[in-house]
């Protein structure tokens, strides 16, 4: 009788603790984005600055370094310099860099890319559709998508050259 009571009480307390704990973790962990590690990356198809279509689904088999940026974002510019440097090296290893501008005017983006000689794929996310779907609300935001189309990691904010390299290394197909 006493034992049964202990079990009932423990069970009720455990259920309450789990419910409240789960709520608290969900609510207070701002770290987790709408799309984050372990999730399937939402598919998108956008026209890039050269008029070609970037379709995420077609990039399966390659690692995708998906970076969201704006011309007014200082850290994005820093990151852009690193990516320019390693773009070719990692393209050979099977990693595609896809940069999405967060809905700035075409003139701005085009002039900016021309001025900085950005070699990798760039597209404008008109209407912030992709940004919204990925839950991007601060820049720079990077999603590392593996060859299966699953998100490995979500990185927000400025990163050092070393960190960018590590991220690219993670994306090389066959590494894990």
């Amino acid at each position: 009788m006493k034992k049964r009571r202990l079990i009932i009480r423990s069970a009720i307390l455990v259920v309450l603790a789990i419910a409240l704990g789960y709520t608290a973790v969900t609510y207070f962990s701002e770290e987790r984005g709408l799309v984050d590690a372990g999730d399937q990356a939402p598919d998108f198809a956008l026209e890039d600055m050269n008029g070609n279509t970037v379709h995420l689904d077609e990039l399966k088999g390659k690692g995708v370094y998906l970076t969201f940026w704006a011309t007014y974002c200082t850290y994005c510019r820093q990151k852009m310099e690193y990516l320019k440097e390693y773009h070719e090296e990692y393209q050979e290893k099977g990693v595609e860099i896809v940069a999405l501008n967060v809905d700035e005017s075409t003139v701005q983006v085009q002039r900016f890319l021309d001025r900085h000689n950005v070699p990798y794929t760039n597209a404008i996310d008109r209407g912030m559709k992709v940004s919204n779907a990925y839950g991007v609300n601060s820049l720079p935001a990077v999603l590392l998508i593996d060859e299966e189309g699953d998100v490995i990691d979500r990185q927000i904010g400025g990163k050092t050259e070393q960190q960018v390299l590590e991220a690219l290394d993670q994306l090389v197909p066959g590494s894990e």
């Binding site: 202990l6 307390l13 409240l20 709520t23 598919d43 956008l46 379709h55 995420l56 003139v107 559709k129």
Partner: protein, 558 residues
């Protein structure tokens, strides 16, 4: 901690005051009235402490703790209303500065202690969570024993129980007690009492379900709190807002790119300041007061899972006004704000700096500030290119011209003007009330001759799946409240003991109704109405108990 066996044979949990079955007082104390709260059963949590689980259980089961949690929550909630919450302070103001500047030291303290974001702060949520847990455990801890006691109660109660009821009388004047009890049983059944008989004794009971009122009420509250808790999950409750310019189409946030909405037309009306009826009020409010505003919006649905691909299908058009949202698939779009006259387009004209600008009349072009065309060519051979564009001009950390964001609040252009046949252009820097030649020997100048503005409408996106839960919780809460307030639990025990008639009564509230029922019984039968022993305690000095008769009991005040 073994069970306590009553002389009637019933096993009672340790700590029981009155036997669950026959009602015999198990703890010998003075001969005062029995404490009938929870039927004298043991709230076992309070009677022994053992494991850590029991300690936690006991903590939350305590009404004292519950009341403290409520008081703290109330105090915190009211302090949180002294100054505005962070979401209501003017946008663009950092909270760290705003509270001190606006409200001084008290404001600073308010901010430092986290009251500016009270309702989502961890400790406030902890209080509410504690309240919920306390509510659940305290209810279980009281409901279960009470339910058991009322279910196992016997008809024939122990004399010790009878004697200690507030309404009690021993009558030895009744000639045929068993006949009278039978008659009483009929009378009480007529009065909608539920009558049980055992060995010629009766227990008449009415309105027992009102005892569950507080627990039903608590269940409602708990459901309500669960609903409130679910609001923290985006799948259950989503609130966001989107700004849509006239003519622009914007994705409805939270729909994962499935829906987008186009602002076809935005309209705002103000109260007429010339109108006599409104003049006084408008002067008092010191400015324009919006009469109505509305966005005519068209909703589109995207057919493809792939963002940016697939066909778009028009779903509906609606005039969104305050309190008249556009609704679809659980989502609602509410009109919440607007921004009038945001810059939308500039028209420039080319002219010569030193000269009469002959032949340049046709060199006029409009530049869309959201997405300007990069190049403008004219029939007479002139060409203007946008060398760079900054919608909200600033100098960045490196001292280069840049933009703060993508809203054209302070647009500036670097134009390159190519005269017919020239390969080299002239650069000039153009903005509002600004026109600088970047090179010294510029021949041409671009002058802004016109501008266009646009209205921007702000729509709140809301999806609330918790509303049915909250409503259900509220309804159950009210049912419990009514159940516990408008009905009450009455019981009468009538027994024959050694030729005497023992009469006792108990009500959880509204003793007058019970007394009236006893009076009615006294009219219909020879069973006298019992005395109110609390009155006797008060009046024992001036009234001799022996001569008191039943008839002075019915109207006693409580």
């Amino acid at each position: 901690m073994s069970k306590v066996k009553c002389e009637c044979g019933h096993l009672n949990p340790y700590g029981t005051y009155l036997c669950e079955s026959c009602g015999k007082p198990l703890k010998e104390d003075d001969n005062s009235l029995a404490n009938m709260r929870y039927e004298g059963v043991a709230r076992r949590s309070q009677t022994y402490k053992k494991s850590i689980v029991d300690k936690i259980w006991n903590f939350f089961s305590s009404v004292k703790v519950g009341v403290w949690i409520i008081v703290l929550t109330l105090i915190a909630s009211s302090i949180g209303t002294i100054f505005p919450q962070e979401m209501f302070i003017p946008p663009g103001q950092p909270a760290s500065v705003y509270y001190y500047e606006e409200y001084g030291t008290m404001g600073q303290l308010f901010y430092q202690l986290g009251f500016h974001n009270l309702y989502s702060s961890w400790w406030y949520m902890l209080l509410v969570a504690g309240l919920g847990v306390s509510l659940i455990i305290a209810s279980i801890d009281r409901f279960v024993p009470l339910y058991r006691a009322l279910k196992t109660q016997r008809v024939t109660r122990h004399p010790g129980f009878m004697k200690r009821q507030r309404l009690f009388k021993k009558a030895d004047t009744v000639t045929e007690p068993s006949e009278e009890i039978k008659k009483a049983s009929e009378v009480l059944k007529e009065r909608k009492y539920n009558v049980r008989e055992e060995n010629g004794n009766i227990l008449a009971e009415k309105g027992r379900f009102s005892r569950w009122g507080p627990y039903v009420n608590h269940v409602g509250l708990i459901i309500f709190l669960i609903g409130a808790m679910l609001r923290l999950f985006p799948e259950m409750y989503l609130e966001d807002h989107i700004w849509v310019r006239e003519g622009q189409e914007v994705e409805v946030r939270g729909t994962g790119g499935e829906y987008s909405v186009r602002n076809d037309d935005f309209l705002v009306e103000f109260y007429d300041p010339e109108d006599e009826r409104f003049r006084e009020g408008l002067e008092r409010s010191g400015g324009d007061v919006v009469k109505t505003y509305q966005t005519t919006a068209t909703l589109f649905k995207q057919s493809s899972e792939t963002i940016g691909a697939g066909e778009k299908e028009e779903v509906q058009q609606h005039r969104i006004r305050v309190n008249d949202p556009m609704s679809f698939e659980g989502f609602s779009l509410y009109q919440v704000d607007y921004k009038l006259n945001e810059l939308a387009a500039f028209t420039f004209a080319l002219e010569e700096i030193d000269g009469d600008s002959e032949g340049l009349e046709d060199v006029r072009f409009e530049v869309n500030l959201y997405d300007p065309e990069p190049s403008y060519e004219f029939d007479n051979g002139y060409r203007v290119e946008i060398y760079d564009y900054f919608p909200n001009f600033t100098f960045n950390d490196d001292g280069e011209p840049s933009t703060l964001n993508r809203i054209p609040d302070n647009p500036r252009f670097i134009f390159e003007v190519f005269a017919p046949g020239e390969d080299d252009g002239e650069l000039s820097f153009v903005g509002i009330q600004l026109n600088e030649a970047i090179e010294e020997d510029n021949q041409y100048r671009l002058r802004m001759v016109d501008f266009e503005t646009n209205h921007v409408s702000a729509l709140a996106v809301r999806r609330d799946r918790t509303l049915p839960i909250l409503i259900l919780g509220g309804i159950i809460f009210m049912v419990g409240l009514v159940q516990g307030s408008y009905w009450h639990h009455r019981r009468m025990w009538i027994q024959e003991r050694d030729g005497e008639l023992w009469i006792a009564g108990h009500a959880n509230k509204n003793w007058n109704a019970l007394k009236k029922d006893f009076d009615y019984l006294a009219e219909q039968t020879n069973i006298p109405a019992p005395n109110d022993q609390t009155d006797e305690q008060d009046e024992s000095e001036r009234t001799d108990e022996g001569v008191r008769e039943a008839d002075d009991n019915g109207s006693t005040k409580q």
